[in-house]
């Protein structure tokens, strides 16, 4: 009984002491706006649309990102230029729904849609969370500097016929019996 009382008392005093010396120890708080955290390059934050090295839009409006998106926050409409390239007539991301999962980036066949380390996207008006193509499109190539979809793909555009792409075999004549 006496031992129990003394042990309990000592335990309480030890608790008080251990908490008290926290007053002089380093605090865990990161004072965020004054003290910016290091953002890793592969952090999944604000979504951008990149351009290829020639300065053209990379997006070919294939809709794979919109299909992959688990919260359906991406909307776009296909358009076609005179030279045969596809492009999005509008490209709209509703960031109030976006969960930054990065599935769109993984689905994208042309490395057009990419996630960046920026996360400071708070807005006062809800409608301002919907970003249009002119807001999303950047002037650079993003994470992949040399990639140009139309230079490696078999798609025929003006100035590049079938079989003229990088590493592309000439087209096979399906009606011929020769190999």
């Amino acid at each position: 009984m006496i031992k129990l009382i003394v042990d309990t008392l000592l335990s309480q005093i030890r608790t008080l002491w251990l908490v008290f010396i926290k007053l002089f120890q380093k605090k865990d708080t990161v004072e965020y706006p004054d003290q910016q955290p290091y953002m890793f390059p592969r952090w999944r934050g604000r979504i951008i649309l990149s351009r290829d090295p020639d300065g053209e839009e990379r997006c070919v409006a294939c809709n794979l990102c919109a299909v992959a998106c688990p919260v359906d926050c991406i909307a776009l409409q296909k358009g076609e230029m005179e030279d045969g390239r596809w492009y999005p007539e509008f490209f709209r991301i509703n960031f109030s729904r976006c969960i930054m999962c990065g599935f769109c980036e993984e689905a994208c066949p042309t490395n057009a849609i990419q996630l960046t380390p920026d996360f400071e996207m708070a807005e006062y008006v809800r409608q301002d969370m919907v970003w249009e193509k002119e807001d999303l499109l950047i002037e650079g190539t993003g994470k992949y500097h040399d990639y140009n979809f139309y230079r490696v793909a078999g798609k025929k555009i003006e100035g590049k016929d079938k079989g003229e792409a990088l590493n592309e075999a000439p087209p096979v004549d399906v009606r011929s019996l020769l190999p």
Binding site: Q12, L16, V19, F20, L23, K26, K27, D28, T29, E31
Partner: protein, 318 residues
Amino acid sequence: MSLEIGSPLTIGLILLVVIGTAAMLITVERRLLGFWQERLGPNRVGWFGSLQVVADMIKIFTKEDWIPPFADKFSFVIAPGIIMSAVLLSFAVIPFAPDIGVIDSNIGVLFVLAMASLGAYSVMLGGLSSDNKYALLGSLRAAAQMVSYEVFMGISLLGVVALTGSFNMREIVEAQTDGWYIIPQFIGFVIFLIAGVAESHRLPFDIPEAEQEICAGYHTEYSGMKFGMFFVAEYIGLVLISSLITVLFFGGWLGPSFLPPIIWFFVKASAFIGFFILMRAAVPRPRYDQLMSYGWLFLLPLSLVNLLVTGVIILSTQ
């Protein structure tokens, strides 16, 4: 007008300082709790967060002061006033310094205990009139806790009273010139400390308002300035208990003469306020039945034994 016991200037200053200290404690407590939880606490408003209390006050004054339609209006409104006036009245008998105080009463200790009992009415009325199950549970617990802890809060003080031979707080302080009562009355001090925490329902014993179990207990339905009064009254109660410990066990204003007596009083009282906040940061809340059995089966016999031994020693040394 001059600074003497009972002059209007003194009374006004004491009122101002007590309420000001209680208001500042909102900030101080949040900062200290932050430090003790390895956080920084509120440090944005003003110099190191010192104006946080102003921001809190503006917020609480501009909130809607809502009375639930199912509540009993009269007792609902009067409850926060009772606890506020009861704790403020208790400061009347506290001797801050040789010439600073409100009254020089012969029954100072009894007066404080009586006022502490009145505080229980506020908590009971607040909980009952709210007509809310959490408030009812909270006031039920508060009533039981305050009534049972008052018993040996009083008994633990009787050792000090017996050593002095007076209920007058000034005489109690002056009797400690040769040595503070913490040494002969250590057990009495510990019991009074624990009972004081329970009486002001601060965190290790904040069972009446246990947020994790019963929302906010007896002030669940309160909002705006009525809640603010409960809130500030809790802090004034904390200041009161710290002042009482200082007066009864740590020699009040007595101390080496390089500092004026009032400063000694503030230093000692602040140390106890800090200790109470530390207890809030460190010690978990006991269960309700544990609190009751701890009080009745351990603290009450201990305080009675303490009183008995003190009496025997006083009689045998005469």
